[in-house]
Symmetry: C2
Subunit: 154 residues, 2 copies
């Protein structure tokens, strides 16, 4: 089953489930569809982060909250500023686990990620955990309402 992902207008991520268009989706459960959306979001998010994190802005909205290592900022401009001012130029995320659960009757999705990231010139990886609350913005697209990131120190 294929899955494409593209930008939906100026805001959010559109997740296309090609299976749904060919009828394959009839054989998938809601849980499997949530997992596919979460996987597509996570691939898109960390690829974008690692290749130019200023471009993450369209995934957030004016109401979005980011807590990064305990510091909370709100809104697209402050979130992008926080992300682009992190004290490293490049990094590489490696994802270990993705958990997803439905959130509320309006089609929200909670996505919980664990993994590690490697900074330039650093031999050791840093463990991290991160959660996202995705809110649907029809048709078939989502934005990040809540984002909480923590390094996991040994």
């Amino acid at each position: 089953m294929g899955m494409g992902m593209g930008m939906e207008g100026n805001r959010g991520v559109m997740v296309e489930n090609e299976g749904a268009m060919t009828g394959e989706a009839a054989a998938t459960t809601m849980e499997e569809q949530l997992e596919m959306v979460a996987k597509a979001f996570v691939d898109h998010y960390y690829n974008t982060f690692d290749n130019g994190r200023a471009l993450l802005g369209p995934l957030y909205a004016a109401t979005s909250l980011l807590s990064f290592e305990g510091q909370m900022v709100k809104g697209v401009a402050d979130i992008v500023q926080k992300l682009t001012q992190l004290p490293f130029d490049q990094c590489r995320h490696h994802i270990s686990t993705i958990d997803s659960q439905p959130s509320g009757p309006a089609g929200g999705i909670l996505v919980f990620v664990s993994g590690n990231l490697q900074l330039p010139g650093e031999e050791h990886h840093l463990r991290f955990s991160q959660m996202f609350h995705l809110i649907p913005t029809p048709p078939g697209s989502f934005f990040v309402q809540n984002d909480i990131f923590r390094l996991n120190y040994g």
Copy 2:
């Protein structure tokens, strides 16, 4: 500022902010109040887990979801069964960080926890991360709608 916590009927956790009753809360921001609720919930949750996790049942509801190391179960009975059948009798959680964000207009709270836990007879601690989506059930009480737990392997 004092804070008490008790059970609200048969379902949920009631968080009492004594400061609010004496007028102290006027000096606290919404962010500080969220942090107090999250801290009180986390204290209550892990104390209960470590001293008799079968008693966590009243914190969940029929719609609640628990993803524990990638396995998802739904509802109070299955969640309590999952928690009580974990292959150890006792454990001790040590909390490192608590992050909280408001979720939606209805007063929900996202709580993101990192820490470590020690099992009986084990010398080494295990790192974990866990998130909770708390939904308000008036007056002043919450239940856990979403719960995602992961060990963080080195």
